[in-house]
């Protein structure tokens, strides 16, 4: 029920068109990059998907994560503006259910975002590298990895948005977190587990072991942040 309710709420916020627009913008990055400097990439001896991701993923994931933060802020801003959250609290729906409904909405649009980008990367691979051998398997492996590593930042940005009544505070914290993520050195595994730094990781840059560790960390952080939110909401309820 919560999920349907949340879908209904975002209808007139421009949430879905914003993600579509963001997806097309991010999808345009590899296409434009190849259009202007394809000679830089076509000579490299690697799989087309890895070449394309190495060349473009930093920028694409930056757009993704900023969009996720804005999305999370909007999802909670519609509750805090005009005190809608108080009406939600009066309903026989727990606040945790509201949070997970919103998480489901944001995760769904993240899938949409990644799907648009996957089509773009796949299209570039086929068009400029003229090979689609093993393309689908590789794409699926890469983008499922991206999705798993994106979930902690989805939950973390919703967590901050749910705690801050004022949108600029949660947006500001999100910006500071993304900035901190960009400052983290790429070689440091422990620091790169910071939820907002994880979406920048690429499968091809890591060994099998490191990829497994990232997968475990992604799942653990997702569960951990969800649990943290449940605890915080329960405690906050006691004091209100």
């Amino acid at each position: 029920m919560s999920f349907a309710l949340e879908c209904g709420k975002v209808k007139r916020t421009g949430f879905l068109p914003a993600f579509f627009g963001g997806g097309f913008l991010a999808g345009a990055v590899p296409a434009l990059n190849m259009l202007f400097r394809s000679e830089m990439y076509t000579g490299i001896n690697d799989s087309p998907v890895s070449i394309l991701l190495r060349a473009n993923w930093q920028m694409i994931s930056m757009l993704n994560i900023l969009l996720v933060i804005v999305g999370a802020c909007i999802l909670y801003n519609i509750e805090y503006a005009d005190n809608a959250i108080q009406r939600m609290r009066a309903l026989p729906v727990s606040e945790c259910a509201v949070f997970f409904g919103k998480t489901a909405v944001l995760a769904m649009v993240s899938v949409l975002l990644l799907a648009i980008e996957a089509v773009s990367i796949g299209g570039c691979a086929v068009y400029w590298f003229e090979s689609d051998a093993g393309l689908y398997g590789e794409m699926l492996k890469n983008f499922s990895f991206f999705l798993l590593l994106m979930l902690p930042s989805v939950l973390a940005s919703l967590l901050t948005a749910s705690l801050c009544r004022n949108m600029w505070i949660s947006l500001g914290i999100g910006v500071v977190c993304v900035f901190a993520a960009t400052m983290i050195p790429a070689r440091n595994f422990v620091l790169s587990l910071f939820p907002f730094a994880m979406p920048f990781q690429i499968l091809a840059d890591h060994t099998e072991d490191a990829v497994r560790n990232y997968r475990i960390a992604g799942a653990a952080e997702t569960a951990g942040i969800a649990l943290l939110e449940v605890v915080i909401l329960k405690i906050r309820r006691l004091f209100e």
Partner: protein, 256 residues
């Protein structure tokens, strides 16, 4: 009501917004890696830049490319949201003050916040440089005149960008689009400063200003030339155009 007292009113509204706290937090994160990795500044012989100049430039480059523009987008959100709660904007529009004047007062406050962001960064730079000097036994501190000259150039070059962000905040009524477009416009500035049309993209100006300064200080790097002729007229035109559009859009929806 004079323009200055109007700016004062707008300023007072944002005093308790805690935005400055976030700015301070951001600059702490900005300078911490620089302090921890201060020894890397000694290995810049191939670029031909002195360690103290490198320490300063690297920090402010990191700030100019993402942190500063993104923080300014957040300030525009703050200015908008604070008026939307309890229909504050309706009360403001009911005052015997022109809409354009009100709009410009808010823009002046935005510029003031950008100055505050720079001042906080400079303050944190001096603290960071002092700590790094102590750890590395090398004087990283640069004279204030030089620092303020550099910061001044960056700040002035950021005004067209602020005008664009302000226009977005005023004219794009749906917050998700206004913020989304603002953020999305920051990301490609890294690519655009290396093209011939950088002067047509206001979001790249502060970053371009600091990168071209880096080119000047690093004797072995070819400096990106700052050609004032296409830049200044374009920047001026963009600023004026954005301000005219935002002044004419301001309060339209509410006063209908």
């Amino acid at each position: 009501m004079s323009f200055l007292s109007l700016v004062g009113v707008e300023w007072r509204k944002l005093r308790r917004s805690r935005i400055v706290l976030i700015m301070v937090l951001a600059t702490v994160i900005l300078w911490t890696p620089s302090i921890l990795n201060a020894d890397l500044n000694f290995g810049m012989q191939s670029e031909g830049i002195s360690p103290e100049n490198n320490f300063f430039i690297q920090g402010f480059m990191a700030m100019a490319w993402f942190l500063f523009p993104a923080a300014m987008v957040v300030v525009t959100v703050l200015q908008n949201q604070i008026e939307r709660g309890d229909h504050g904007i309706l009360r403001m529009l009911a005052l015997p003050v022109g809409k354009a004047k009100l709009c410009m007062a808010k823009f002046a406050v935005l510029i003031a916040f950008s100055a505050i962001q720079f001042l906080i960064s400079v303050g944190m730079y001096y603290i960071g440089a002092a700590i790094a000097s102590h750890i590395q036994n090398y004087d990283f501190i640069l004279p204030p005149v030089f620092i303020f000259k550099e910061i001044g150039v960056m700040w002035v070059s950021a005004i067209p960008m602020l005008a664009v962000f302000w226009m977005l905040a005023v004219c794009v009524r749906t917050p998700v689009f206004a913020i989304g477009i603002g953020f999305a416009s920051i990301v490609p500035s890294v690519l655009l400063i290396n093209t011939k049309v950088w002067f047509a993209y206001p979001m790249a100006y502060p970053f371009f200003a600091i990168v071209s300064e880096y080119g000047k200080l690093a004797v072995h790097l070819s400096a990106a030339k700052t050609e004032l002729i296409p830049w200044l007229p374009t920047a001026g035109m963009i600023t004026v155009l954005c301000l005219i559009i935002s002044c004419s859009c301001f309060g339209q929806e509410e006063s209908r």
